[in-house]
Symmetry: C2
Subunit: 306 residues, 2 copies
């Protein structure tokens, strides 16, 4: 199969054309978002949906997050990621398979329905995680396109995936929120160099390969600017798989927390990686026959009571 | 002399009362700031003056900053501070004594006149520096009260000093701008532990002693909030010597740069340090007979041409 998005092969970075749509479906009156929202997602590569979940639902999710973060020994060991040089839990991967509450969240029609529309296909969970960025000592996460990594290291063929960050703590301008470069999803920026074996063990903590070069980042940021959506718990930030994003550290006392869900189109399921011999493990990138998500309507808590 | 602000003596932090005014003068119609500004400074501990310097003056200052940062070998070696583990210049101290342009800036009536009013005394330069926080890799600077350090390590007796940050690059919400906790200047938060000898060599790069405890910081931030003044080059952020402040790192391509000037009242000149045997060197904290500043009016460039 021809590699439409070759990366980490050359010594010089370049911008390549995007061969895939951003909004894969045609908007119609039955769509779960407005036409204006669909156009904005297409143009900017991200969308903020405010107050998607009620206060009661947020409390319910926060309680679950606290329970999971507070008892990491109950989880699959490899899915628990700590701060570099620290013991504080920073992320728990494959959380939809380890928590019924998060499984229900991922299937919620308010999320999965939007993913199905934007990707115009059945969807499945490519990756999920619970992120907790503690106050005072939260580390930065450098700029990257998720797709670049998913393509090179996991074998995702095309740009037909998206991420949803369900805010479980308030995003302020000061606590190291997700920063995005609007419009940067419209080109594919190659990264230089090659990828060492088992790179993922380190890259979950600190990115060193698959890192965009400073000149290209400066060009993107000067041309498009940088935005950092703020929002209250219960809001959702949706962003395209190829948008350039990162986050600064956080010395404020205010932690950041979110449930992070990556939806992929079933037609875009993983193949062999495009840049490494051995794919990353399944807890980071689901492989094999996709488990198609059937959207569920109604409050999150109802399901939990059955 | 009784130590009104003891710190680093105990194992538990505490909030002590402030025994000094914030605005030391009485406002009158001749004051260089409005009554509302004076009241705001008193209440919040900081003030932003927008567009103090013209575009031509900003260009003139930026050119001088570039020349100084670009040729550190021409400067007193100990005044040049690099990033931890790097060679990029982060700060140049005692810059008013090494650059006629910055000396003129420090004497400008738009700055020194305001300092004289707020401190109600003749003023001198306690410390000056040129700060440059590069894009992509700019490190964080943890929360601290300047006065705590100036008192313990330099021997500044009372809270009768203030800082002015003259912006030479745009402060955006994303490039690691100065963050302040409004109102935190109204109490003195003691720090725990003792200070090792020659602590200053490290502390200019990374603060390890004289660090406020997390519980007290959380209390301050939850009660007062956090603000990060944004502004264009030529704006000035003035803040009280005892306000709690810090800054996050900066992964954006946008650098931060400012000229940082600390004015102290001549009546508040340094004595023996209150918490260490040997004071820090004079390039960090001016000692001896103060060199009183006589405010100069008119554009910055005129002086340079004489």
């Amino acid at each position: 199969m021809k590699d439409l998005y070759p990366s980490r092969h050359a010594t010089v970075a370049e911008f390549l054309p995007r061969h895939d749509s951003v909004v894969h479906g045609d908007w119609n009156a039955d769509a779960p978002i407005t036409q204006e929202q669909a156009e904005r997602f297409d143009r900017d590569g991200y969308l903020v949906l405010e107050d998607v979940f009620s206060d009661a639902e947020v409390t319910y999710l926060q309680r679950e997050a606290g329970a999971l973060l507070g008892d990491p020994d109950a989880l699959e060991e490899e899915t628990v990621i700590t701060e570099p040089g620290g013991r504080e839990v920073r992320s728990i991967f494959r959380i939809h398979a380890q928590s019924h509450v998060i499984e229900r969240l991922a299937a919620d029609a308010r999320l999965a329905g939007v993913a199905r529309f934007l990707l115009n296909d059945d969807v499945y969970m490519h990756q999920s995680r619970l992120n907790y960025k503690p106050g005072f000592q939260g580390k930065e996460f450098y700029w990257h396109s998720d797709f670049e990594t998913w393509h090179v290291e996991d074998g995702m063929p095309r740009m037909r995936a998206l991420s949803m960050s369900v805010l479980l703590a308030e995003n302020t301008p000061h606590n190291g929120p997700l920063m995005l470069i609007p419009g940067s999803h419209r080109q594919f920026l190659t990264c230089v160099g090659e990828t060492p074996e088992d790179h993922y063990r380190q890259s979950l903590k600190r990115q060193e390969y698959g890192v965009p070069d400073e000149n290209s980042l400066a060009e993107l940021a000067h041309h498009n600017g940088i935005i950092a959506p703020t929002g209250k718990p219960g809001s959702v930030v949706i962003f395209d798989c190829n948008i350039m994003h990162g986050s600064n550290g956080n010395i404020t006392p205010f932690p950041r927390a979110n449930a992070f869900l990556v939806y992929n189109a079933v037609s875009n399921r993983l193949e062999a990686p495009f840049g490494v011999d051995r794919p990353r493990p399944a807890f980071i990138a689901a492989r094999g026959e996709p488990q198609v998500i059937t959207p569920i309507t109604g409050p999150l808590m109802e399901e939990a009571l059955t």
